[in-house]
């Protein structure tokens, strides 16, 4: 693996290998001395064209616990004010000798462009590109689900697990990465969203089920894990182009509360990529329930990102 750009191109074996390496990394984080010397002398650049404190500090913690040098490069810009171009930034990073670049960008395909353009030679990890993908989020979600739902999970995938993804599928890079990865790992995927927030053609797919209300999905499936997506405030309104009429109506149809949670199987777990809109897509009762693994997702995120950095950067010297 040279880059980690999306989950479409991950094979099942590669995905399981990342999850297994994540388990090893997670185990090291239980120790008193959590820092490993593995990436000493390597430079990892966190290149963030969009604010995301949570993702950035997760990658930063992962790289530092592997003893890599970390440079945080905030090149905030938008489609309206481009600022420094991606190309010039990449040339700069190349000149500085970045071994790996973790990129978060508002443009779909930016990580792919960075990896394939010839502007720089380092490894590229996509930390979220526009409305396309966020592969380490999907991997940490899969890792979390495997831990809770699959016995003796090392070496295993998610065969037979039913996962419901609820919310703004159209714009969510979390869903964008989770759906292909879950399919690769053998899980059954149930998508729950208003029709306005579904990507083109999704209802025609025969490899997943689509429901227009959360109640329908709970009724139709034995859900093992429910993944609540964050509702972006800007999707609600906009001069007649809101994707749904009101937050209240969204909550009525798609919000996860204690009542809906109790109607799922007892072992069902609740995931959310954060940050949560409590009272909108998820109630406090559901978020704070013992079945919620939302806080654990955060710590697993560090382990998964350690694994990704390790496999990309250490793997090049000692190919397996």
């Amino acid at each position: 693996m040279r880059h980690l750009l999306d989950t479409d191109t991950l094979t099942r074996d590669e995905a399981i290998r990342i999850l297994d390496a994540s388990a090893q990394m997670a185990a090291t984080q239980e120790r008193e001395m959590r820092k490993l010397p593995t990436l000493r002398g390597k430079t990892v650049v966190n290149l963030f064209f969009e604010d995301s404190t949570r993702t950035r500090i997760s990658f930063e913690a992962a790289a530092k616990r592997l003893s890599a040098d970390v440079i945080n490069f905030s090149a905030k810009g938008s489609s309206l004010s481009k600022g420094e171009s991606l190309k010039d930034t990449a040339l700069t990073l190349q000149a500085m000798g970045a071994d790996a670049v973790v990129i978060r960008h508002w443009a779909s395909g930016a990580a792919s462009r960075l990896a394939g353009s010839g502007w720089m030679h380092g490894h590229v990890i996509n930390a979220g590109d526009g409305t396309h993908q966020h592969p380490t989020q999907a991997l940490l979600d899969a890792f979390t689900m495997r831990r809770h739902l699959v016995d003796d999970s090392a070496g295993k995938a998610l065969d037979g697990v039913t996962v419901a993804i609820v919310g703004d599928i159209l714009h969510s890079r979390v869903a964008g990465s989770n759906i292909p990865l879950l399919r690769t790992l053998g899980a059954k995927v149930v998508v729950v969203a208003p029709p306005t927030l579904l990507p083109y053609g999704m209802t025609d797919r025969d490899d997943l089920d689509v429901h227009y209300t959360l109640d329908d999905a709970i009724e139709a499936h034995d859900i093992d894990a429910v993944m609540m997506l964050r509702v972006q405030r800007e999707r609600m309104t906009g001069g007649g182009s809101g994707f749904f009429p009101s937050p209240e109506e969204y909550t009525r149809l798609f919000g996860l509360d204690g009542d809906r949670l109790r109607r799922m199987p007892d072992h069902a777990i609740v995931l959310h990529p954060g940050p949560m809109n409590r009272g909108l897509e998820i109630s406090a009762e559901a978020a704070d329930s013992p079945r919620s693994v939302i806080v654990e997702q955060v710590s697993n995120g560090v382990a998964v990102r350690m694994a990704a950095l390790y496999l990309l950067l250490a793997g090049e010297e000692a190919p397996q």
């Binding site: 395909g109 792919s112 526009g130 396309h132 990507p199 053609g201 999704m202």
Partner: protein, 442 residues
Amino acid sequence: MTSTTARAHLIENVSLYGDTTADLVLAGGVIASLSAADAPAGAVRIDGSGLVALPGLVDLHTHLREPGREDAETIATGSRSAANGGFVAVHAMANTTPTADTAGVVEQVWSRGREVGLVDVFPVGAVTVGLAGTQLSEMAAMANSRAQVRVFSDDGKCVHDPLLMRRALEYVKTFGGVVAQHAQDPRLTEGAQMNEGLVSAELGLAGWPSVAEESIIARDVLLAGHVGSRVHICHLSTAGSVEIIRWAKARGIDVTAEVMPHHLLLTDESARGYDPRFKVNPPLRTQADVDALRAGLADGTIDIVATDHAPHPDEDKDCEWGAAAMGMIGLETALGIVQKAMVDTGALTWRDVARVLSETPARIGRDAGHGRPLAAGEPANVTLVDPAAAWTVDPAGTASRSNNSPFGGITLPGRAVATFLRGTPTHLDARLTETSTEGAPA
């Protein structure tokens, strides 16, 4: 420009329209004769065997960028590129800076085209002031200027307001003009990056749905029928658009439509990899759309092929897809693509190519002296095609100031090897230059 003083040319044994073999004597700016015996002494002789002669090509839809974006293209570089591609006339779109919405700007473009002298540059006038879509521009002033504007378009933007569109359609009747509509509902395409479909869903790029084009075309053909005006639809890109045009023509509505070479050859699959050279507006669609566009062009529903030549400097393409400009250059590849997609597949003959790339665009644009028959006494606007001169497209080799072609590395079966504008060669392939000789035939 100086047609009457150009040297005479004798093109021997050339296939007219791919049908009949004849000689073309170009002298005094006209096709003087179809017989070599009439060639004047001292005529430059060109061996036309294996070549197809067409009336000089006319592009109804070109962006020359001057004034305002001379870093992307100038009238001089764009004219050179056009001549190399076999064109003798181009219509230069109005979305320049300043906008071509006054007699002053269109006369500037027109006269600069005359100075360069490689192709006839016909400026397109803006329908609305500043392309803002709120107030009609002084179209009669442009029509009555030296530029004699007959085609009006806000291309790049849709004339979206239905009442304004109605007024524009009615108003251009005054001087026999035509409104060329860029059919794109702005609300349905806010932030759109590529065709809305399975590929956009996978790539996470905001979709440009076919209905945003089709709904405007449906409205405008109904409006044109209602007020009895003619309307021209720019860059058809969807199967549904072809159906609507077919329906409108069957009802007798005076509508014409154009298709771009890239929409005849490429699909939205090209967007995988996020290379912005494939970003264009309207976007590349699906194979079903490509097939429908080819069928529509073959059966005459679509009247013409135009290039939508849209030069952009490197920095506007060597970047993220979302930050990149829309558009692609196309003057030098248009003929080869039409041959590849339509002629070599048996969908069009060379005589049909003369119709869709010369005669009909000239008629829609009211371009005097263009799109005329290859016959004695007609203006010597002639393009020679070598249908067997396969070549691999190298965007760096273009005469355009920009090289944003999506066709780099693609092999095209043929190309224009000579272009004559009123008898003057504006493009002459090196091979023809080397083998041409002087003097009357023995």
